[in-house]
């Protein structure tokens, strides 16, 4: 029996299951948590789907199909769970407005795919710098950040300058540009 983390998809693409797990696990869990509040249950569901994936990696053409399989399976597991738990209100909400659930499903996929990338970039930062970035994004002042992280205000400033480099420059002002661009259209 030869076991390996590397598999080949039908289309020829290679996939390292461990890398894939590390890149997507938090995202999939966060995806499931929008259906089920209990994160422990969410993690169990994601793990179940990884096991199901292990059973049939060769039936997928490419990475898109693999991801589609994960999102669809996780969502179905979650809906099953809600049905089972007779969390009537929540489930009814999804069932009655099926088209709303579908929109929700797509919006959540979009969110998770986007933040899988963002999170990977943020995690390249050293711990203190990441902490500074998160507090700064939450509009903490430099002196508040300095106190929380336990570093000098001057260090906060340099950390902030370096940490912001992993994000688009002036996210907010670009929003303004967007609006003017939309109006012009």
């Amino acid at each position: 029996m030869v076991s390996s983390n590397r598999i080949r998809l039908k289309g020829g693409e290679r996939l390292d299951v461990q890398d894939f797990f590390y890149d997507t696990y938090a995202g999939f869990t966060s995806f499931a948590s929008k259906y089920i509040a209990d994160v422990a249950i969410c993690e169990d569901i994601v793990q179940d789907v990884f096991l199901a994936f292990y059973e049939k990696p060769r039936s997928f053409e490419n990475l898109f199909q693999v991801k589609s399989f994960f999102y669809t399976s996780i969502r179905n597991h979650c809906l099953d769970h809600l049905k089972h738990q007779k969390v009537k209100d929540k489930y009814k909400e999804f069932q009655l407005k099926e088209d709303v659930e579908v929109d929700f499903f797509f919006a959540e996929i979009l969110r998770v795919e986007a933040f899988n990338l963002v999170y990977k970039e943020v995690n390249k930062l050293p711990d203190a710098m990441k902490q500074v970035l998160l507090l700064a994004l939450k509009d903490y002042s430099n002196s508040e950040i300095a106190e929380q992280v336990g570093i000098a205000v001057s260090t906060v400033k340099t950390h902030k300058a370096r940490a912001y480099k992993i994000l688009r420059k002036n996210l907010d002002s670009l929003m303004l540009f967007f609006i003017s661009w939309l109006r012009g259209k």
């Binding site: 080949r8 292990y54 991801k67």
Partner: protein, 337 residues
């Protein structure tokens, strides 16, 4: 919107937030935002400073390394249960046939039995390869359809094994006790080294490939002679001509099977057929004898037999039929024509 589009848009958005998007991706995103107020709302929410911070914090709450360990452990148990299921069947069969003590290592697929005369026989059946450790801590990989026998009682003084089939040996060094692999007509004598021996009873050739160290070959029939093999060399002994020839080779081609890799380099179809039969436990019938002389080149890792047949069909311009079976005791039958 399709699922695939949602994934793509998500990736574009992730690149956008980290300032890595291309012109086309940016334009695509802008069009999407302009299409529907709901899209705009989602976009605004996800690209806002507080939105980014709260998403990152949600991801931070998940402990991925711990989850991976848990998953790996679940997977290990799952594989163990699967192979234990197989072992249960094997154990029942042996009980019925009445063969004595059966020791099973559930992580590898081989049959391990001890006869009253203190001989231990290990068999890897067709379609399975396995790794074992001998009493002297030497490691042996057995390829499909291989039997290895050794005397348990005397092994510590006399490191001798009998081989029918193909095995890769990684021998621990014991200067006082050389390690000998006995094939029908050839002995391979070593101190500490790694090498591959291929000696299937039904094949004409016995082949020894040396990866590391040094081995000594001794022909038993005809005029008995000793040969020395250097790393990177392969010895072929013809049982019919009783002749031994040595040449340099790319050793990985002959030893890669132990990693689950099958390499064919200018191999004749008759060689390919034999290897595939052992590797996949299938029977292959060649209708047109000219096929046997066709040459085939491929490196194969964990492919289904059907994929390999497709590959042969295209690269050698032949046709084949395949008869699958749900009964594990009836091998898959393939006809090439």
């Amino acid at each position: 919107m399709k699922l695939k589009d949602a994934i793509k848009k998500g990736i574009f958005l992730g690149k956008y937030i980290t300032g890595k998007e291309s012109r086309e991706e940016e334009l695509d995103l802008k069009n999407w935002v302009g299409e529907d107020p709901a899209n705009k709302q989602l976009f605004d929410q996800l690209t806002s400073r507080s939105g980014i911070a709260s998403q990152v914090e949600a991801y931070d709450n998940v402990n991925t390394p711990r989850a991976w360990n848990k998953y790996a452990e679940r997977l290990r148990r799952y594989q163990l249960e699967k192979s234990l299921g197989r072992w249960r069947i094997a154990a029942i069969l042996f009980f019925v046939i009445g063969i004595g003590g059966l020791v099973g290592n559930s992580m590898v697929d081989f049959i391990f039995k001890q006869t009253p005369e203190n001989y231990t026989t290990i068999t890897a059946s067709n379609g399975q390869s396995s790794m074992i450790t001998l009493p002297d801590q030497s490691t042996v990989w057995l390829n499909g359809g291989t039997t290895l026998t050794y005397n348990t009682a005397f092994f510590s003084q006399n490191r001798e094994v009998r081989l029918d089939g193909e095995a890769f040996f990684q021998v621990t060094k014991q200067t006082a006790h050389p390690f000998v692999v006995q094939c029908n007509e050839l002995n391979v004598r070593v101190l500490g080294t790694s090498f591959n021996v291929r000696s299937y009873a039904e094949d004409e050739m016995i082949s020894v490939v040396l990866e590391e160290g040094a081995v000594e070959l001794n022909t038993k029939k005809g005029n008995s002679r000793n040969y020395h093999l250097k790393p990177g060399e392969k010895a072929d002994y013809s049982r019919i001509k009783k002749e031994l020839s040595i040449h340099e080779v790319e050793t990985s081609q002959y030893t890669s099977w132990k990693k689950g890799l099958l390499i064919f380099s200018d191999a004749t179809m008759s060689e390919v057929v034999k290897k595939l039969e052992r590797w996949y436990n299938v029977t292959i019938e060649v209708k047109n004898p000219q096929i046997n002389n066709l040459l085939f080149n491929a490196t194969i890792l964990h492919e289904d037999i059907e994929d390999i047949m497709e590959l042969i069909k295209f690269s050698c311009a032949i046709n084949y039929d395949i008869v699958l079976s749900n009964d594990p005791d009836t091998p898959i039958q393939i006809t090439m024509y």
